[in-house]
Amino acid sequence: MASAVHVFGIRHHGPGSARALVAALDALRPAAVLIEGPADASDLLPMLADPKMVPPVALLAYAADDPSVAIFWPFAAFSPEYQAALWAHRHGAAMRFIDLPASWRLGAIGPDAPPPADEAAVPAVVRDPIGALAAAAGYEDGESWWRDVIEENPAPGPVFAAVADAMTALRDTGPTPVGREAAREAHMRREIAAVAKDADGPIAVVCGAWHAPALAAATLSAAAGDQALLAGAPKRKIVATWAPWTAPRLAMASGYGAGVVAPGWCAHLWQTDAADIVPRFLARTAAALRRDGHLVSTAGIIDAQRLARGLAAIRLRPAPGFEELRDAAIACFCDGERARWETVARTLLVGSEVGHIPDGVPLAPLLLDLQREQKRLRLPPEAADRELALDLRSDSGLDRSVLLHRLVILDVPWGREADAGGSRGTFRERWVLRWEPEFAVRLVENLVFGATIAQAADGRLRAEFGKAASLAAIAERVLDALTAQLASAVDAGIGLLEKRAARTDDCPELLAALPPLAGVVRYGEARRTDAAQLGALLRRIVVQAALGLPYACRGLDDDAASAMRVAIIAADEAVALAALDDDARAAWRQGLQALVDNAQTAALVAGAAARLLHQADALAPGEAADLLGRMLSPGRPVADAAAFFDGFFGGSGERLIDDDGLRLAVDRWLAALDADAFVLHLPLFRRTFADLDRTQRRRLLDAVSGAGPRGLPGFAPAPGADSLWPQHFARLAAILTAKPQERPDDE
């Protein structure tokens, strides 16, 4: 005797359906609960109801021979499928998945072919018929429509009968399902019939609303047609397991195809009593805005609620839905500014929940992937330190390096770079490898980001981009992505850099981004990566920073000026390193020139800019000397002149050896300083010449004293200078070492 089959057509991830479903199951008390999901993963289904399983989680099936071919079926707390499993567990009912086995779907993908875009090929109305009906009715949110039309339906009647009626009408207007869709329904019918044959009680079938009409007649029409549909399906060996999931990933379409547009909103609908949905959502919005420092009063919440009701009335809706709440929040909390709403919308609508899976679920594909890679690259995990030198020009060297870099991104530092940072841009890397047991656990935690090491590293980097505070930090992560050959993360990072770069007014931030970016461009060559688009971005940041320089270097105090000098010098190196076009170089030089020309520029920075221009031969002959003469002329405050001197010569006094003009200008200035000022700035002078080696000092002294070929004009070496010099030198040394008591009294 076959049991009665009750079909519940639900909206995937629809809290409204979930609520109605639990009530319906309570009323029906089925002996078996059949859920739309891959039949060959039925063994895993009871685990879903494990109390230690915290949604969001995803059922994950992947090809045993290639974990990158994987399908996810995510479950949130508000998913009807999850609630059905919980109900079955609580009441001891049997439960199974009844959809096409995952092995068939993965088999269709094939070992070499790329994953087909079959989800996108399925029309929206089939993937999410309730969302499609809602959109047709002018709703942005399918859940609001469900509530308004299905649950608040003035005609009394069971909710799921109404859904089935609507879907029957909808299916009658469209073509009959073909291909995989037809096979799926055939498979579900066959499974239902098989269970119905020997169940001793009613059977509940939980499936997407679209399929409800096709399964209702299940026991009648499990016929020869179905057998034909199911014959000869491709098969592939698969492995299935559970993976932790996150709210943001729920927001992306996957698995069921019915991606959740706003998991945060759905969770709110699920957790909140129907009567409290409006005030609680507004209160949460207000709280989020307050956290961001906006003033939102309690009275404002009351007003927003009234406005939402008024809007619902104007739009002829029985109760305020998502759109009314949003519009009311914008008008009452955000001074009408949509942008302010957008700042909290992500927190409110997506949320940041992370799921958790209990111990004892089958092995994660990330570990399998790692084992395969280790075998392929002949890099067995060893607990003892092992040194590894890689030549990036060979395929095996490059592949090994990429794997190690990806693992570092995943916070699994199996290998540590022996000279991290120093080797970038060269063809060699040195690693120290040591495998720790806890790495396996850390690796599995990354399952949230993807099923293979490449996918997970990519996903993790993308997530980190969002958190990076500065341009330089993002640029560093892009460099990481490039090193680890994660092309799509590189693209995402560059896109983000472009956006941030345009928004920032902060010249130091732009400057700081240049060195890592130049590294990316250069490193790209060693890594065989196409970094062409980076060139445009780098060029843009150079131009932008150059334009901002004169404004950023005004009125700086000493510390800020020193920091700026360091940043500008590093940026100049980056500009020189990266193969930029002449236009960009010219723009950068113009920026430096503007620094020198602008009287308000901090003197230290102006000096540094002048030196960079001088180094690059961008100053006309004699111009440097003229400039130095002007900057060090007695009319200028000594502190400014000294700062300029410091900026120009800081750490590179050798410049004075061969340039008569510069030397003359400096000499004039030094000679004009009064004793106090000279003593005050002695440490500066000392610093300037500190890096000169013995020969250089000798040559400089020769030049100054006129012993060399280019003495100062008007000065001639004193007769017997060679014998006098040691005495003079001793005195100078005494001054420089600040031991005045050793100063000889005579002379």
């Binding site: 003033l295 009063s297 009275a299 404002g300 007003d303 009234r306 406005l307 008024g310 809007l311 009335a313 104007i314 739009r315 002829l316 759109e323 519009d327 009311a328 914008i330 008008a331 009452c332 955000c334 001074d335 009408g336 500014e337 949509r338 472009e498 956006k499 345009a502 928004r503 007014d505 843009r540 131009v543 932008q544 334009l547 901002g548 404004y551 723009a587």
Partner: protein, 359 residues
Amino acid sequence: MTAVLRPPAEQTHAKELAALKAADGGPKPANWQLSPRAVVTYLMGGKTAKGVPISAKYVGNRRLVETAVATLATDRALLLLGVPGTAKSWVSEHLAAAVSGDSTLVVQCTAGTDENQIRYGWNYAQLLAHGPSRKALVATPLYRAMDAGKLCRLEELTRMGSDVQDTLITVLSEKMMPIPELNESLYAVRGFNVIATANSRDKGVNELSAALKRRFNVVVLPLPDDMDEEIAIVVKRVGEMAEALDLPAPKNVAAEVARVVAIFRELRGGETLDGKVSLKTPSGSLSTAEAIAVMVGGLSEAAYFADGALSAEGVAPAMLGAIVKDPVQDKAVLAEYLETVLKKRADYAAYYHALAELV
């Protein structure tokens, strides 16, 4: 044909209002002439239930108008914010015409507006002859609106001093106006509400106090979404103004308008029209109205100083004036735009050179 230069909206569109009223089956708040849905139809255009066509008064986002109308139906006041030239007063007038059938209860707020012009004044002859009484009061538009249950419009609310603005607090929150001189109060009749407009870009005006601000629901009216629509508006208005000023219109006006509007839209939108490069925005509003002013300035320059030839050099100084409101910040923004975007566009070369020279 009336002798009045510009009659109020309820007269100009009397037929549409009557048609809407005749076909209106929806529930009406007390003292409203139309149901809220019919008010939205009046503003956005469409057809009445009986098929009479209604012209669109406001071209833009329907949701904004719905929010505005729903606000008026609650006890919160409505504040229309926006940069100059976004139809704030226009929307306010038509809302009042549709809701109350009377758009003439207007207070133009200025720095010189005092409390007597907001609450009530005294007829001193009456006051001296008969002593204080309601008869000796001179009612203001706000007073009349409260008394009759109509909408009162406050134009440019933020231009009025903060102390005067705050007299509105009691009116908006308790819907009554105390008259201490008579030991009486004026209680607002149902249907009363306030529509205020304010300019969101002006600096140096009186900020709304937080106490007052929270009694308003704010609807921000944006600049036109659609480039072609905006170009059409500018071309039409420039043509009209050139005619009024007896300026000959050179042939290339439309092409130059397209370029100027494109530059304005990119700068105020914060990204290039193709969406590939994001930009900083200058502090000026760069509204449609300003694009019109720039083009008219260019035409005038062309007619009087350039033998009728409209060129980038003629338009550039006016553009610079519209874009650079803050001499330091905006200049940097413009320089960045010129170097990173405009420089690479061959068809904008004239603008690049003319503007780069001026910056």
